[in-house]
């Protein structure tokens, strides 16, 4: 009996101990302080442009004879190699941009990616320029291009290595024997670089490149002009020239469609150059001569550039046979035609041309990156 009581008492004490251990947790401490805020989110950035095709054409003292790459691939996504026909468009760090000055500077500001693109005869005669080095970069607001190529002389084809700064100028009639109202034109042209981008999808462009816009037959001009084939197809054209645009720091911004009149047009606005020509036919009398001359004309032979703030009405006397007057007048462009900054330098037969444009201009005649 005593044993049972002892056993019960021991059980009670054990239970009491268990209750003490299990039941007396104490009060939890205070909640710890909140941690520091996480790092800030990233600033808004426009999405990386979609990869796209584009076309390149280069001439040497010609408007028509061009070598080119009708279909190049412009890769923004960083997943492609800069090789073959692929141009690696480098994403620039914030606050970094290449200087658009036409100077290569060993690629400073452009990143380490470039592609040596093979060029082929695209239209007209072969001009022997077989490759061009292409760099490209972009940031949140702009896209940049650099092109370098070296001209090649060929006496048989009449191709020379030259800067070509006097395109299509007027010449006062030789010997004074001609009609002083009918000037002649030089046969000189200029070096040119053209880029083509799709604004709206162009049929078969992704397979044939800019060939699909060449010599489209409109049944009027024997098929010898450029246009898209579909009524809503539109292409952007960036047109740099060694004289008529290069003096201004802009490229000529154009577009091509197949609208009611078709073909290539300047973007809306004041173009960077226009033809300096007066052409009238009155009865049997034809006038074909410069519309403007330089301030110090006649007989100054001042050449290019002839800015619109430097011109004055054409004089009818005071000229000497062989006098020259510029065939184009330059203006500071305005409007959508002034979207592209472009400048080139010429060094011992090599052109370095650099371009810059807003990724999105808000103009329907411009490609959006």
């Amino acid at each position: 009996m005593t044993y049972n009581r002892f056993l019960i008492l021991a059980g009670l004490l054990l239970g009491l101990l268990l209750l003490t251990v299990l039941g007396c947790d104490g009060i939890s401490g205070d909640r710890g302080l909140s941690g520091p805020p996480g790092s800030g989110g990233e600033d808004y950035v426009p999405p990386i442009p979609e990869n796209r095709f584009f076309s390149l054409a280069i001439t040497n003292n010609s408007q028509r004879n061009h070598n080119g790459a009708p279909k190049l691939y412009l890769a923004f996504d960083g997943k492609h190699q800069a090789a073959g026909d692929t141009i690696y468009c480098v994403q620039l760090a914030s606050g970094v941009a290449p200087a658009i000055d036409g100077l290569d500077d060993d690629g400073t500001g452009w990143g380490d990616k470039f592609t040596d693109v093979n060029l082929y005869r695209a239209a007209g005669d072969y001009n022997f320029i077989e490759s061009a080095r292409v760099r490209s970069a972009f940031d949140n607001n702009y896209i940049y291009f650099q092109f370098r190529w070296t001209e090649v002389a060929n006496a048989e084809f009449g191709v020379e290595v030259a800067q070509n700064l006097d395109p299509d100028y007027w010449i006062y009639p030789e010997g004074g024997s001609g009609n002083p109202r009918r000037w002649t034109k030089s046969t000189t042209n200029e070096d040119r670089l053209n880029l083509f981008f799709e604004i709206t999808p162009v049929t078969r462009y992704s397979s044939d490149g800019c060939y699909v816009t060449c010599h489209t037959d409109d049944a009027i001009v024997n098929g010898n002009f450029h246009a898209t084939r579909g009524s809503r197809e539109r292409m952007d054209i960036w047109h740099w020239t060694s004289a008529t645009t290069n003096f201004t720091g802009y490229a000529m911004d154009r577009y091509m469609d197949n609208g009611f009149s078709g073909g290539v047009r300047n973007d809306v606005g004041m173009p960077v150059f226009r033809t300096n020509r007066e052409f009238t036919v009155l009865a049997a009398d034809t006038t074909d001569r410069p519309m403007y001359m330089a301030f110090d004309d006649p007989h100054s032979n001042s050449g290019y550039p002839l800015w619109d703030y430097q011109i004055r009405p054409m004089a009818t006397s005071g000229w000497v046979a062989g006098d020259k007057v510029a065939g184009f007048v330059n203006s500071i462009p305005w409007g959508s035609t002034a979207d592209i900054q472009a400048i080139g330098t010429y060094d011992d037969g090599t052109w370095t041309v650099e371009m810059k444009r807003s990724r999105f201009t808000g103009n329907g005649d411009d490609v959006r990156f």
């Binding site: 009581r5 019960i8 009670l12 239970g15 009491l16 209750l19 003490t20 039941g23 007396c24 947790d25 104490g26 009060i27 939890s28 401490g29 205070d30 909640r31 710890g32 302080l33 909140s34 941690g35 520091p36 805020p37 996480g38 790092s39 800030g40 989110g41 990233e42 600033d43 808004y44 950035v45 604004i199 709206t200 809503r232 539109r234 609208g259 009611f260 809306v268 606005g269 004041m270 403007y292 619109d308 703030y309 011109i311 004055r312 009405p313 007048v329 203006s331 500071i332 305005w334 409007g335 959508s336 999105f360 808000g362 103009n363 329907g364 005649d365 959006r368």
Partner: protein, 427 residues
């Protein structure tokens, strides 16, 4: 025995309750500081979001700047689920901007919705001829950075000239001010010049060279046979001068007003001030702000822009910068400042008004009174086209005029949603 066990159980429960309720123990230590939060999500630019809906007003004139037809209150919504109606324009979200070239790109460029907004003569001043512009087709589009608008209207030929017998009388202002006798005498000259008027009006005013007529050179008498006063003109005296049509003759114009104010009648005030309606020049409320886009067939269209103005309590004023045109006169009632560099009379051989416009700044030289062939009509434009700059150059605008369709203007406009200029409304 059982009683003892029950007692022990009860005692245990009692002690347990004491333990449960009494053993609070010591308070624990505060917890540790939490770890850093997750990185924030990438930001968004609220400026790129859908613009806020708003009201706007449109005004259109056909040659006569005072006779404005329009609609003072049109609703522009950027909610693509809304339906376009006569007073609601639904803006389409576009990926490829419309081509601002004045050529109707239709739904391919502008989306499916368009509004046929009713317009009516708004200036009730007596003596004005209703231009009978009853409808303007409106479209709008937007993207992250720009807003695009489209307007199309059809003109009607409205004569503002008065007929007297077989003679057409024009109001003409000479350098000495209006003179009825002179006007009557000149009517034939001007009539022959003016016969080429078309609905395509690009002129603010137009210079015409005529003989100076003074008291000595006009001899008027009453002809009893004809039973009217007859004036004989003697042009052997005097020189010639340049005159221009009176100011009621102007260009085709289109204005868009955007109110950004709590002033309820901002649209009324805008029309009043910009179209010189009764009360123009009067007091304006302090909080008033109206952004005005004023397109002119002669003043802005050749340059592919619209003139950017605003209206505040201080009155209407152009935005900062240079305009797309210069008025071609030295002083009111004076002579033109410029002429085409090949005149006289190179340009005057052209007979249509549209062929003397635009006269670009680079084609203009100082006016010289000598050398004109007065046997031919002489035209000089009233404005010189230039390149605009600054905030005044914010708007791209281009229009085309379709004669074949009976005189249809198609006007397309583009402007940045945010120009960062305080004199522009933000979309």
């Amino acid at each position: 025995m059982h009683r003892g066990i029950m007692f022990i159980i009860c005692l245990g429960l009692f002690l347990g309750m004491i333990v449960m309720s009494g053993c609070e123990g010591d308070k624990g230590e505060p917890g540790r500081v939490g770890g850093p939060g997750d990185r924030g999500i990438p930001g968004t630019d609220p400026d790129l979001d859908r613009p806020q809906d708003r009201y706007f007003g449109i005004g259109v004139v056909n040659e006569n700047e005072l006779a404005v037809a329009g609609n003072k209150r049109v609703f522009l919504t950027f909610d693509s689920t809304a339906r376009a109606s006569r007073d609601t324009v639904v803006a389409a979200r576009v990926q490829i901007p419309p081509l601002i070239n004045g050529i109707d790109g239709e739904e391919i460029e502008w989306g499916e919705q368009k509004s046929r907004v009713r317009t009516s003569l708004l200036n009730t001043t007596s003596g004005l001829t209703d231009p009978e512009l009853f409808e303007v087709v409106c479209r709008a589009a937007w993207d992250e950075y720009y807003i695009y608008t489209y307007f199309q209207w059809k003109e009607r030929k409205v004569s503002v000239r008065t007929e007297t017998g077989d003679s057409t009388i024009y109001e003409v202002t000479t350098s000495d001010g209006p003179n009825e006798l002179v006007m009557d005498a000149l009517s034939k000259i001007i009539e022959s010049i003016d016969s080429s008027l078309t609905p395509y009006d690009t002129t603010l005013f137009q210079w015409i060279r005529v003989p100076i007529l003074n008291v000595e050179t006009l001899f008027c008498f009453y002809d009893p046979i004809e039973q009217e006063t007859v004036c004989v003109i003697d042009t052997t005296f005097g020189d010639t001068t340049l005159i221009w049509f009176d100011s009621k003759k102007g260009e085709d114009k289109f204005a868009v007003f955007w109110g950004d104010t709590d002033v309820d009648n901002w649209s009324d005030l805008a029309f009043r001030e910009f179209f010189n309606m009764p009360g123009a020049g009067g007091a304006l409320p302090a909080e008033l702000f109206v952004d005005a886009w004023v397109w002119g067939a002669g003043t802005s269209n050749p340059v592919s822009t619209a003139d950017d103005w605003s209206l505040t309590s201080r009155g209407k004023a152009p935005d900062v910068g240079a305009a797309s045109f210069m008025i071609n006169l030295a002083l009111p009632d004076s002579v033109p400042r410029y002429q085409f560099y090949r005149d006289p009379n190179y340009k005057s051989q052209l007979t249509l008004q549209r062929e003397i416009y635009p006269l670009w700044y680079f084609d203009a030289v100082g006016f010289k009174p000598a050398g004109w062939d007065l046997n031919r009509p002489v035209y000089l434009p009233g404005i010189i086209s230039t390149i605009p700059s600054g905030s005044r150059a914010d708007i791209y605008a281009r229009a085309t005029f379709d004669d074949s369709g009976g005189g249809i203007w198609t006007l397309e406009i583009r402007r940045a949603r945010k120009t960062n200029s305080g004199d522009d409304v933000v979309f």
